[in-house]
């Protein structure tokens, strides 16, 4: 049903030059001003900026606008921003529609005329659609103040302690029989050479002592149901008096996923002889040696020549194309640890590029080059070749490198080769993603809500990610993310209530024939049949608005609020007119 005489404002964002360099924004605004119901149409540099939003608010108030179209970036980016603008002008936030003319137009097309035409079509569709928008009231439900944290590494423990310090309860679920994650496997940390053990031990102690943190070791989350503010998680733990495992049900408002990473499996790289040459080891095996306090070869002798090879599994066309971020500085740390334990040894560091970004790291690199490490640069795809040395040689292996800076082929001796294995997504990341209903990227890392502006939230409300489960990360960034996620959640808990999107399905009981087809279709069991009235109805708090029932109802009795047939038809007409 269209409004009697809508008063629509259309705002075409230039996004600096992001949109305007391809789309003629003024022409789009001119076009929009001719559309039925449009009272005002403007083109402006940055609609999301304060002046941009104030422009909308002012127009709503002065020109009595009752509907707004913003043609800008993806609604996934700024729909909440503009909805708030409408709200601050006392207009129902659902009277907004966005036309995505950046991600879908200016960033993917380069012909200005064609792009402008497409932008006009999208704006026309949005104007058509918004004409049929209805005011919706969002629901307010209680926010459960408890939080579930999956993964007991540095991220999970840090987040748990934030909640505990704020006086809130956290359930910390760890698959293994101890806390600490991968950091607990590391000896010292770059660049300040602090002991990882100290960082971990202190946190483990505080977590265990905290009355607000309930730790589940040898446990995993088996199911997660509900919605933000009101999740129910089933934790399966194999600990307990009977020893044969049992399930614990907890109610939580939010979830932080801190499942971390796993190290790249070096046996997948055949050319370095890992698994065949006894003195070729991985970085984590070397960490173990450092932990034990002895750097030695398989036969127990201390190595005279130590070689470190970077980018094993990372920055490689066959394995992972991304950089694992922490290995370069860890390699320098090894060079220093070897030199300090075995001052007469020779260390060579064989790298592609030295990535020394981050606080203190460039200085660390400089200091490390002063301790007489031999740096050899190889080219991506032209990896060093390791072979067993001849019996007469004074070393165990020989490494041939096509050295980039000198342009020469260099052969160096090695008794111990350390492969800097990269980080990769855990094999259970798919399972975890399904459990909490979030997405993974092509490499298996969890996808954040926005890579720059919303890095710890996900597209599923109430589910947060922190640390290396989202991408390779060092300890400071992981800790920062864990605290950020906890901060985000605590601010929501502080409000006590949570607004649930007003988008859900509803049954017109007059038209419902009581066939119950929708009852079984709903994945959330949100549709209930009343045997007395012989009608079905939707339990709105359980409905997640997928609309599967709407498309299936033979009587057309179910309406998807904000995605009604009329609204989508109007949009179709708009894009094709």
């Amino acid at each position: 049903m269209s409004a009697e005489s809508p008063r629509i404002g259309v705002y075409v964002c230039n996004c600096g030059t992001n949109i305007a360099k391809v789309v003629d924004c003024d022409a789009v605004a001119d076009f929009a001003s001719q559309l039925p119901g449009v009272v005002v149409a403007r083109s402006y540099k940055y609609m999301c900026s304060n002046p941009g939003q104030e422009m909308i608010v002012q127009d709503i108030q002065e020109q009595q606008l009752d509907r707004v179209v913003v043609a800008s970036c993806s609604p996934r980016m700024h729909e909440p921003t503009f909805r708030r603008a409408l709200q601050s002008a006392s207009l129902n936030p659902y009277f907004l529609e966005m036309a995505n003319i950046r991600e879908q137009v200016s960033w993917v097309h380069d012909d200005g005329a064609i792009a402008t035409d497409k932008a006009k079509a999208l704006v026309r569709a949005a104007v058509n659609r918004v004409t049929r928008h209805e005011p919706l009231e969002s629901m307010s439900v209680d926010m459960c103040p408890d939080t579930l944290i999956i993964g007991g590494g540095i991220a999970g423990m840090t987040a748990a302690l934030e909640f505990a310090d704020a006086g809130k309860r956290a359930y910390l679920v760890e698959k293994l029989d101890h806390l600490g994650g991968n950091v607990a496997r590391v000896d010292l940390t770059a660049p300040y050479m602090d002991a990882a053990g100290d960082i971990v031990a202190d946190r483990v102690r505080r977590v265990i002592e905290s009355p607000n943190i309930e730790v589940f070791l040898n446990s995993e989350v088996r199911s997660l149901d509900g919605f933000v503010g009101n999740f129910t998680a089933m934790i399966h733990t194999s600990e307990g008096p009977a020893g044969n495992g049992h399930d614990v049900k907890v109610r939580v408002g939010n979830v932080v996923v801190c499942t971390g990473y796993k190290e790249f499996d070096a046996t997948r790289v055949t050319h370095y002889g890992y698994g065949k040459l006894p003195n070729v080891i991985t970085s984590f095996e070397f960490e173990h040696m450092l932990h034990e306090g002895r750097i030695e070869m398989k036969d127990g002798r201390p190595p005279q020549y130590v070689a470190i090879i970077h980018c094993v599994g990372s920055r490689s066309p066959e394995f992972h194309t991304y950089c694992s971020r922490v290995c370069c500085m860890t390699a320098l740390k090894y060079a220093r640890e070897v030199k300090s334990a075995l001052p007469t040894s020779y260390v060579s560091d064989i790298y592609i590029d030295m990535h020394a970004f981050g606080k203190g790291m460039e200085d660390f690199y400089r200091r490390s080059s002063e301790i007489k490490t031999l740096f050899l640069m190889y080219k991506r795809g032209d990896h060093p070749v390791i072979r067993k040395a001849d019996p007469g040689d004074d070393c165990d292996m020989l490494i041939e490198v096509h050295e980039q800076l000198s342009g020469e082929t260099i052969e160096i001796p090695a008794d111990l080769v350390i492969l800097m294995v990269g980080m990769e997504a855990r094999e259970d990341s798919e399972e975890v993603a399904h459990l909490v209903n979030i997405s993974r990227d092509k490499d298996g890392w969890f996808i954040e809500s926005h890579p720059k502006l919303d890095p710890v939230a996900t597209t599923t409300e109430g589910i947060y990610i922190a640390g290396a489960c989202a991408a390779p990360k060092d300890i400071p960034d992981t800790v920062a993310q864990a605290r950020a996620a906890a901060g985000r959640i605590l601010s929501k808990i502080a409000r006590g209530k949570i607004e649930i999107e007003a988008v859900y399905a509803e049954v017109d009981e007059e038209r419902c024939s009581g066939c119950r087809i929708c009852n079984d279709l709903c994945p959330y069991v949100a549709i209930e049949y009343d045997p007395e009235t012989k009608r079905s109805h939707v339990i709105s708090a359980l409905c997640k608005a997928c609309g599967a029932c709407v498309a299936a109802c033979p009587s057309g009795a179910i309406k998807a609020r904000h995605f009604t047939d009329a609204q989508i038809f109007a949009e179709i007409e708009g894009v094709l007119a």
Partner: protein, 144 residues
């Protein structure tokens, strides 16, 4: 001037629309022939949406949802998968060529795949020529 097909894309909010956004943020260029309409889940796509689009002049309709097993709503895409052949059977009865209406899975990380799909579909429909639906409708109206 060569024929430029009009394609309406119905994309699920969680995977495919995000995938299309990723094509944008990654600046992966593709044919400008597609106009995207966002729905929460591919299972929301009522067959009438497709009919409406064809009726109103679309030369093709592209439906995209999460990959099987990856649906944000657990199983919505399975419903789409089962409904789709029924719709296709009906469209075939109407004489609408098979290639005009496609169901494809595009995840949130598959910006390149989305761009490739749009390019591929645009090429195929360009080769096929304009949809006859609107012309047939006009003839029908004239005969009445």
């Amino acid at each position: 001037m060569s024929f430029e097909p009009k394609i309406v894309g119905f994309l699920c909010n969680w995977c495919s629309y995000t995938g299309a956004d990723l094509a944008g943020t990654s600046r992966i260029h593709y044919a400008p022939n597609v106009r995207i309409i966002r729905v929460m889940c591919s299972a929301r796509i009522d067959p009438t949406f497709v009919l409406k689009a064809l009726h109103d002049g679309a030369d093709g309709v592209l439906i995209c949802g999460c990959h099987p097993g990856d649906c944000h709503y657990t199983e919505g895409n399975y419903k789409t998968m089962r409904r789709f052949p029924l719709l296709k059977r009906m469209l075939a009865d109407f004489g609408i060529e098979d290639e005009r209406v496609r169901l494809e899975w595009v995840s949130a990380s598959e910006g390149q795949r989305f761009a490739d799909l749009v390019d591929d579909m645009t090429e195929r429909i360009r080769a096929l020529g304009p949809s006859r639906v609107q012309a047939d409708l006009a003839t029908d109206m004239a005969e009445r």
